[in-house]
């Protein structure tokens, strides 16, 4: 193996380099100059995001443990863009004086989870997959407990670490049975030996339950709302977009490759879980007043819609899942960006505080409206096209009832997505949030989200590109 083969892990190596630079910078800068780490990391991360688009070689490393294809590079690029937006949006929050002594921690923990996600997506065996998954989940718990002096943040941290440890244990139990029945942990060697015998069915159920925890599908979603509410808001947006997106990617890859021989079985499971997730997520979102909790349940419901693409089981489903996640990144980060901007300036997070917001802050209200329309799937913005392809891929396989229920759910979701819009544009308030001018970085972050929501929907080249890679890789 030549040294140049390591270039296959280009993205991971660059991220590791950034992590090391952050640690060194924290030691090198005096406490008064810690805030310099913020712009330094932003520029470095921007460079990595650009470097991700340079075409890279395909190949396999470490005897099949790590494999890289154009599809995995595309997934990593989507995650890179999402993390870049999260960094830009958290710029003003992380520069607050009370966060001064823990700036480096924030960036270090996020970059290390991103390294874990990249290895997870590229994994070629269960060992690499498990290591990546743990690297992607353990630091997130530390991030959720980031506000050390807030009770809710500590509570969110402990809920996240305990439920993710439980889900890892369940997942590992499934992997151990797969190992016991097939004699290998390499995906390529496991596939021909997978059948629907009782032991492997049980192994699949354990594996599925473990992954469902990570994506917060319905019987396993109870941790999500509390963690999303308690964590600092920029970290909530990271959790609901990047963590979930990466878990969806690897879940799709493993179902499509390792468990492809038992496709009929997991399609039945997904059918029921998808209906449950959409319905329960929507019904709980209806009665939320806290904006973070509201967006948490909305993201649970969105995960139910994503399952419609996975249930297709073909390359077309893969395309629609990746396309939807790309759109979901922009629309959810747009909504979270506005909520974070308001919360950082005024500290207000409930829906009734938003009454009359349009009169005082018209631009932020418009961004929020566009993001919620995109999440709901209303035509001019990209969210519509994302949902359309998901529904089309499920209908393609003849799941007409499922699509019918999904359309009903999309209608229910319209109601609660319009609630904040109604509060902002129609409701009157005696004491609305006063006018404030958000700083340049917040505006830049929201601008990227709006541009993404419009461009990804209308530029069919993006969809065609994802489609080409899904069918080729």
């Amino acid at each position: 193996m030549a040294l140049s083969d390591f270039l296959l892990m280009r993205n991971e190596l660059l991220l590791t380099l950034i992590a090391i630079i952050i640690v060194v910078a924290e030691l090198a800068f005096s406490p008064q100059k810690q805030h310099k780490i913020v712009s330094m990391t932003l520029w470095l991360f921007f460079a990595i995001t650009i470097a991700g688009f340079i075409p890279a070689a395909k190949g396999v490393l470490f005897g099949g443990m790590f494999h890289n294809s154009e599809l995995t590079i595309l997934m990593k690029n989507i995650l890179n863009i999402a993390v870049l937006i999260v960094f830009i949006q958290s710029y003003s929050w992380i520069k607050k004086p009370e966060n001064n002594y823990k700036i480096a921690e924030y960036f270090l923990l996020i970059v290390s989870t991103l390294i874990g996600m990249n290895f997870m997506i590229s994994s070629g065996d269960f060992l690499m997959f498990y290591l990546g998954l743990e690297l992607a989940t353990i630091p997130v718990a530390a991030l959720a407990a980031y506000d050390r002096y807030k009770n809710k943040s500590a509570e969110a941290g402990v809920k996240l670490i305990l439920s993710s440890a439980l889900s890892s244990a369940i997942l590992l139990y499934g992997i151990s049975m797969i190992y016991g029945s097939t004699g290998s942990i390499y995906f390529a060697e496991v596939v021909p030996r997978i059948s629907s015998n009782p032991l492997q069915t049980l192994a699949f159920i354990f594996f599925f339950a473990g992954m469902a925890f990570k994506i917060s599908l319905v019987p396993f979603h109870l941790w999500a709302a509390d963690v999303y509410e308690g964590a600092p808001i920029n970290i909530t947006s990271y959790l609901s977009v990047v963590s979930k997106g990466a878990a969806v990617f690897i879940f799709t890859i493993i179902l499509f490759t390792v468990f492809s021989p038992v496709m009929a079985m997991w399609k039945d499971v997904l059918y029921i879980i998808s209906i449950l997730t959409m319905t329960v997520g929507n019904l709980f979102a209806l009665r939320q007043q806290n904006m973070k909790r509201f967006l948490a349940f909305s993201s649970i419901a969105q995960a139910g819609f994503i399952l419609l693409g996975i249930i297709d089981g073909s390359q077309f489903g893969m395309t629609s899942v990746i396309y939807f996640v790309l759109i979901y990144v922009f629309s959810n980060l747009g909504a979270f960006g506005v909520v974070a901007a308001i919360s950082n300036v005024t500290g207000k997070e409930t829906m009734s505080d938003y009454n009359g917001f349009y009169r005082t802050n018209p631009k932020l209200s418009l961004v929020m409206m566009l993001s919620l329309f995109s999440l709901a799937g209303i035509p001019p913005v990209a969210g519509f096209f994302g949902k359309f392809f998901l529904f089309a891929s499920a209908a393609h396989q003849g799941y007409y009832w499922l699509v019918f229920i999904a359309v009903l759910n999309a209608t229910i979701s319209l109601y609660y997505y319009l609630m904040p819009v109604k509060a902002m544009f129609i409701n009157k308030s005696d004491s609305p949030i006063v006018f404030f001018r958000s700083d340049g970085m917040t505006r830049l972050g929201l601008l990227i989200c709006v541009a993404g929501m419009v461009v990804v929907g209308f530029a069919s080249a993006i969809y065609e590109y994802i489609r080409m890679l899904s069918f080729g890789g």
Binding site: Y130, E155, V158, S168, A169, S176, G180, G183, A225
Partner: protein
């Protein structure tokens, strides 16, 4: 199958019992540290599974042993982060009983 005295099934039965004792403990215990111990019990039952399968069924390759070693290491990292957060909980709430740590509810 080689004859090591104790058949494979016994190991698997012990591992299964351990796993579900862990699940039961996770769901019923009120102390955060005990919940963490229940999770460790589940992870260790997975290790027994891996090592037993490796030793009895596939003795020519060591994949199961490696996996068990790495699970041990990762479990240690997980416990470190969990205990750090639990110490913070104790400072905030002066308590590590799950029934006291419930500011957020439906």
């Amino acid at each position: 199958m080689l004859n090591y005295g104790i058949p494979l099934q016994y190991f698997l039965i012990v591992a299964t019992i351990m796993f579900f004792v862990g699940v039961y403990g996770f769901l019923t215990r009120k102390n955060l540290i005990t919940i963490l111990m229940s999770i460790e019990l589940m992870l260790n039952s997975v290790n027994i599974n891996f090592v037993a399968f490796n030793k009895y069924l596939y003795p020519d390759k060591l994949q199961g042993h490696f996996f068990a070693l790495i699970v041990v290491a990762v479990a240690a990292a997980e416990a470190a982060v969990a205990i750090a957060i639990i110490i913070n909980i104790y400072r905030r709430f002066s308590n590590i009983n799950v029934e006291e740590v419930n500011e957020m509810k439906y």
